[in-house]
Every structure is written in C-alpha cells, then in structure tokens.
Symmetry: C2
C-alpha cells in the first residue's frame, strides 16, 4: 500500500507496543510483583494506557482513516487492508465518543468500587457496595448514551464485547437455551447418584497436578516456545503479540478438577491468541473476533474435548501414573461421569456445563432491568435470589454467594456476561462444523491426537483475527447464523446418556 497506509500501520504499531507493554506489567502484577509495588505499578499502567489512548484517538489517526477509506472501498472486505481500515475505524469512532473526562471518572469510580466490592463481599453486605454500583450504573448509562444505540440501551454496552450483536438476538438465543436447559437440569436433579465424584476430592499433590496439566496442554498444542504458564490467584490468559502468550492457573491439593480444567480452558484462549498470524500483530486485528468467540475456544477445549469420554480414554491411564493410589480402581466410565457431574449451585465459576448458562441468564436479565431503570438497586439481592430459585432451584443464603459474587460490575463491565453463554453456544457450533468436515476428529481425540481439530480452528477462526464480527465469522465458517441447536443437542445427548434420562 501507499505511504499513508504505512504511516497508519506505524502509528498503530507503536500504540500496540504501549498496550502490550501494559499487558506485561499487568501480568507481572498478578504473578510475581512484590506486594509493596502496587501504587508505583498503578502509575506506570496509567501512563502507558493513557498514552495509548491519546495516540489512538488523535486527529492524525482520524485524518489517515478519512483519507484511506475511499482507497480501500473497492478491495475485498476480508483483505488485510480493508479489514484493518474498517476495524480501526470502528474502534476509533467508539473511543472518540468517550470523552477524556468520562474515562477519567470511570477509572476513579471503578477503583473505589472495586475496593468497596471486596469489602462488601467479605462482609456479605450489599449495602456497602450499593452507592458505588449506583454511580457505576449512572456512568454506564452515560457511556451507552455517548456510544449511541438504536433499539435497546444494552446494545451499546454489548457491542463493546460482541461487535454487531444486538440484545434482541441474545434474548432469542437465550430463550432457546433456557427452554432446553432448564428441563434438562430438572431431569438430572433426580438422578444425581449416577455421577459420583468423591474420589476427586482426595489429596492430589500440587506439583504433580502442575506437571500433568503441562503435559496435557502441550499435547493439545499450546506452544511453549511462544508462551508459558504460571500461577496466580485468579486464572487468566494474556498475550503481548501472538509470539508471547501467558496462561495462569491456580492449584490446590483438594481440588483436582479446578486446576486441570482451568489450565485447559486458559490454554484454549491461549491457542487462539497464538494462532493469530504475525502479519496482524501490532494492529487492531490482532485479537479475537469477540469475547464470545474467544470463549468458544476455551470452552470447546475445556468441555467438549476435555470432558469427553474419548479424551479420558486416552488420558486416564497416563493420569493414573501421576496419582496411582488416588485413582486405584477408577474406570474411564467412572472418571468421565465424575468430571461431568451436574449439580445446581450458587457460584457461577464452579458450575457445570448444564447449569452454567442459567447463571448467565440471571445476570443478563438483571443487567437489562438495571440499565432500563426497571429495578431499584436496593431490590437486587432479592431479585437475584428469586431468579436463582426460578432457574436453578437454589436460594442463596447471603449476598456474598448471591448478587456480590462476581467482580464485573465493580469494574464497570456491564454487558459482559452474555459473552460467556455465547461462548458455549459457539463452542458446539464450531466443533460440529469441524467434525462435519473432518469426521475422524472424535477418533483422533481418543488416541490423544488433537492436531486436526486445532488445525481446523487455526484456519477457520484463529487465522482471521478480528477481521469479522461474530455473526460474519459464523456465517463464513458454518454457512449460516449463530445457532443454539448444536449446543443443546450436545448437552441433551451427553447428559441423557450419563444420567440415563
């Protein structure tokens, strides 16, 4: 391309360097940073993030986009140049709509709210968090109005995480999910004896858990030449270009499932990040299509692959070498049932495949009511409990295990929760498509071979970076719209078999 395009690429590259450097500092903060460094680190991050924001929202970037848009109008929309201009324009317009003052107020408010949320959750007292949530809701409405929307105020916030996706579409998808999952959960509730997992609650020494987890994710295809795994209080994945992707996990002797499936989940995110072509690095295209599409990869490896009978047919003999006494006499079938035990519970992050989405629907519905000012915030604890009983048949004893359990609102991330369920929906849709094109995949998984599946995801999902919106990507990859049937069929047949329904 021409000199202007080169100029844009150079500027975006520098901005990416600032953001990637901030990523390294955040990773360090959560893994190795000494506790006394917290204030100095906050200053460094503020300077890096502000510099990146200022440079990205500069008039110069706007002028370059104005000049380049007519030049790429004739190009194929999936081409590097057209995609880059289109996605950069979308990000630019969105960021320009948020004034520096609004961003600064959000930063201040969420810093205080985060602290207040931690105190409130510890005390299990929603009242401590309420005034902060009130401010955050006001700011979220202000942000939504600044970003603009046609139909629903929720659209404006959702669009930050799922470009192009509307609230009405999410509602339709979730209604289908609900119609399938609520009865499934109820049917299972009567049969819980069929999936006994007591043997998983023995002592599993963490060093051996760590080694087994590394062996698994290495074989799945996570590339340690361009990544690593460390420990942190809360597992996460981050990347500072596709050449440097960091996973974290958390280990405890009595919770074998948490570390292993956590590692596989994060490796699913990590392999997506590693699969983004280096040609896209240091541009706005060097990320996933959306958070939901990102979650489709983590959930596919964690659940559809990692909790399949074929997977454990291969891995259980190996796992038995790590933990011979703990797994004595445990068959593949018993192990498979144990890691797929369904049990309605209060806490989202510990939920199984069937009930997990129900937790999301509760949050999604409540967020809409909040943004549309249809609920008083002081009524949230009760509303939460009512909806939990409606969907899951459980009743939180207190706010800590209820409305206060998630960090998201304190960070200002309203509109984020639906991405989790969208990830589940897409995980099955993409997996089904892969198997329809490569029918041998389940047999390969049983032999511990994951290359074909990863290769398909690389080609169809990862290699495209953020060129397409989620709906465009699904259309390209599957030839149709986002659909819940693959997930519902998967869940129904898997759990009907396990629970003899």
């Amino acid at each position: 391309m021409n000199a202007q395009f080169e100029e844009l690429i150079a500027r975006l590259g520098e901005i990416a360097d600032f953001n990637n450097a901030a990523g390294v500092l955040s990773w360090d903060q959560q893994t190795y940073m000494p506790p006394g460094a917290i204030r100095a680190r906050a200053q460094q991050l503020t300077t890096l993030r502000r510099t990146a924001h200022e440079r990205f929202t500069s008039d110069e970037i706007g002028q370059l986009l104005d000049d380049l848009e007519p030049q790429v109008a004739e190009l194929e929309p999936g081409s590097y140049e057209a995609s880059l201009i289109r996605v950069t324009r979308r990000d630019y317009d969105r960021q320009r709509k948020l004034s520096a003052d609004l961003v600064a107020r959000l930063t201040r408010t969420t810093a205080l709210a985060r602290e207040a949320w931690e105190r409130a959750r510890k005390a299990s007292d929603f009242a401590l968090f309420l005034p902060h949530l009130d401010e955050i809701l006001d700011l979220s409405v202000e942000i939504a109005e600044a970003l603009g929307y046609e139909d629903r105020i929720y659209d404006a916030l959702l669009d930050r995480f799922e470009p192009g996706l509307k609230t009405a579409r999410i509602e339709a998808l979730f209604a289908e999910m609900k119609a399938g999952l609520v009865p499934l959960g109820q049917a299972i509730a009567g049969q819980q004896g069929r999936a006994d997992d007591t043997f998983l609650h023995q002592d599993f020494p963490v060093d051996r858990q760590w080694d087994f987890g590394l062996e698994v994710i290495t074989r799945l295809g996570f590339d340690f030449e361009h990544g690593r795994q460390d420990r942190s209080a809360h597992p996460f994945t981050t990347s500072f270009t596709p050449a440097d992707v960091r996973l974290t996990t958390r280990l405890s002797p009595g919770n074998f499932k948490s570390a292993l499936f956590g590692s596989i989940h994060e490796a699913g995110h990590g392999m997506y990040n590693q699969g983004i072509p280096m040609d896209l690095a240091r541009t706005p295209l060097a990320r996933g299509a959306s958070l939901g599409v990102h979650e489709s990869q983590s959930r596919m490896w964690e659940n559809i692959v990692g909790r399949s009978r074929g997977f454990w047919t291969f891995w259980l003999p190996r796992l038995r070498e790590y933990f011979p006494s703990q797994l004595e006499g445990v068959t593949v079938d018993a192990f498979y049932r144990a890691v797929n035990r369904v049990e309605p519970s209060l806490i989202r992050v510990e939920a199984d495949e069937v009930t997990y989405n129900l937790h999301i629907f509760v949050r999604f519905e409540i967020e809409n009511l909040m943004l549309e000012r249809k609920v008083r915030l002081s009524d949230l604890p009760e509303l939460w409990k009512t909806k939990m009983e409606e969907y899951l048949g459980v009743w939180p004893a207190d706010d800590a295990d209820g409305v206060l359990q998630d960090v998201h609102w304190s960070s200002g991330m309203l509109g984020y929760f639906p991405t989790y369920s969208l990830g589940n929906i897409l995980s099955a849709q993409f997996y089904d498509q892969a198997v329809s094109e490569i029918p041998d995949i389940p047999a390969q998984i049983e032999k511990g071979e994951f290359g074909s599946l990863l290769g398909w995801m690389r080609t169809n999902i990862h290699a495209r970076g953020a060129k397409y919106t989620p709906a465009e990507l699904v259309e390209l990859v599957t030839g149709g719209p986002i659909r819940t049937e693959p997930f519902l069929d998967y869940a129904r047949s898997k759990y009907a078999e396990i629970y003899g329904l």
Copy 2:
C-alpha cells in the same frame, strides 16, 4: 514549589514510568519470557525507550529548566528542588548533545556487534569481532566529541557513569592501587596452600543453596515486601522505583560460592535501590550517585561483610544445617580461608578481591589507548596477553579467555570498567567511616546483626539518591576526597593474616 516545578515533576514522572515499564520488560525478558518472543519484545522496548528519550529531550523540558534555574539558585544545593533541577539539567544537556541519528546508529551497530561478539567468543576468534569493534570505537569517539571534554577523550565517556570524575584522577587512584596490589598478589602466590577450598567444590543441591541465599539476604536487610529474587543466566539487579527491586541469581550444584556471593552482591545493589526515598521516585534523582558508588554497596556486602571471619562465625553453623555432610569437620577458620582464596586467573568475573582490580586496570589502560588511537585494534589480543602477564602473571591461551571475555565493548560501553574498581575503593572507604562512627559494627556482624551498618548506609548514601556526584558524596560522608588507603589497608591486613605474610 510553583506550577512550573509541578509541570516539570509531572513530565519527569511520566518519563520515569516509560523507563520503569521498559525495566519490567527487560527483567521479564531475562527471567520468564518465552524464547520466541524476542523480536516482539525488542519492538516494545524500542518504542518505550524512544518515547522516554523524545519526551525528555523535548524543548518543553529545556524551557522549564531555563525558567526554573534562576528560581532555585538561592536554595541549598542539597535541597530537593535545587538537586532536581541541577541533575535534570546535566542529564538533559548530555542527552540533547546526542542526535537521534547518532543514537539510532549506535543501537543498530551494537545490536549486530553483540551477535558478532557472541559468535567470536564461541569461536575464540577476535577477527570476527574486529570490524564491529572498529565501528563501535568510531561511534564512541563521535559520542565523546559530541559530549565534549577538556583534557582527555576518555573523560567524556567516563562522565556518563561517574559524573564529575576525570580520567587523570582515576589514573592516580589506580596507580596507588597497583602499587599496593601487585606486590600483595605476588607475595600470596607463593603461599597458596594456606587457603584450601576443595570442599567447596562438592555437590551442593541448588534448592538448598536457593533457600540459604534467601535466608542470608533477608537477614542482611533486603526487603521482600518491595522486591524479589529470581533466576537468570546472568545475575543482575533492576528496580522499577524503590518499591519494586528485582534481583536475579544463578545456581549450579558444583559452584556454591558463585550463587551465594552473587546473591549477596546483587542484594547490595538492591538494598541501595530500596533505600532511595520514595519522595525521589519517578525523578532523575531516584538512582545511585554513580555506578561506582552503586558497586561500593554490592562489593561491601559481598566482600567486606560477606567474606569476613565474623560473618561466617555467625553463618557457618546455620549453613551446616543445610549441608551437613559437605561441611563435616569444616571449621570457621577453614571456611573463611576457603572463601578468600586468592588465585590469579584469566576471567574477571571469577576473580578474588586481590586480583580483581588488576583485571580492571588492564581494560582501563587498553580503552584509553584505543580512544586515543594509540593502538591498532588488530594488536589488541597480544596487548591484552602482555598486560595480563604483567599484572597477573597469567597468559591467556586464546581470545575467548582474553580480549573477548567481556560483553561491554559490544554494547558500546567504553568507559564503564573503572566503575568496578572505584566500587572496591569506595566500599572500604564507606565501611571504615561507618565503623569509625559505630565501632560496634564488626561485633554486630559476628552476631548476625546487620541493621546498624545498613542504617548507616541508608542515611549517608542511599537516602541521597543521585543528588551528589561521587566526589561530593565522599566529601559529605567522610569529610575528604576519594582515597585508596582504606581498601589497601583492608586488603593487606586481611590477606597478610590469611597467608601468613
């Protein structure tokens, strides 16, 4: 102070954030970064360093300094405001003298030279490095001319590391050191049986070395609330404000001394960094007075404290609990002699206290000849050997163990080596002063108490950051000029006793 001063502080703070962020990225590169990330990391570092340089050398900083200098002229020179303006001006003028083009050429040249040096050292073939050294010498002369000097070209390069110190003064100090150390080394050469260290060359499991090292540096006063230690190929210390100081060490089972004394050395640097007041953080005052003064702290803890009889009177019983079989029957006296064994050798970084400085004199003299164009670079290998024989009585068999052993020249750091010997000189001078003010210090060390000594260093050295030049600091702290007698007296009496001279 006024709004202009606040403006300067704010700008310097942001610049420090960029440099500290770059410090985190460099630390990560040398400790945890996956190997495939090297190119992406180089880009991130280039962007951060260039941004810091551009902002620091901006006309706005110059204007603020111009405006503020008259305002601080009446203030006490050691005040925060006067020191900040003075030191910032010195840095600013120096960096402005180096054109962006010159800096870019140096970066390119040293990147290639570093690679060539590694290849040349591996092949032990100076000819492979020669053309790169030739370019680096040309650039160093160009830099020296740009920076300016009155007497000797070496002054301009030395001043980057030792503000205000002249080559002639270094020569005078080194002449005194040589006159004392060369005969001392020769006298010891005939008595080597008196310091047997064979028991140190047994198998010392690295996990226990690690734990013992942590115990030692914790007790010395390194603060793990504001710092940590990790492993790296080459030990180093770095800090991202005094609240976050990182040490690294390297461990091998057969080399007990290397890891322990390396850890103590780096902790000496680290405690200096941690001792700089947070008021000075994010300004040009938040560093040591010079590299030599920094080295005085690392060498004092490593050698004067860490290799003293009193130190091992306290620590040997504890060390024996870590390594009972390896240290069976080893007395404090035998241990003390072993860790103080003097032996002329080819490699600087492995040298003992007596011969270490002789390695430096060789390099310092050769660098002067190079910069004054008094030696052909192709003659360096022979010149090196001749001087090594003259000072140390050893003759390198090849270039890898001779002229190619150090990385400094390939990085463009001519003028750096004298800081090592200056550190040794100052370590004894500061320690003597501390003991003259607190005579109980040696007795405290024997009881494993290091707080008084660290406290004295905190107050007299660390708390002053970079407010003073090395000569000013020595005058303030000791009431006189930099002197070699303390080091020579220390070395003569210690080694006369060990070797029965």
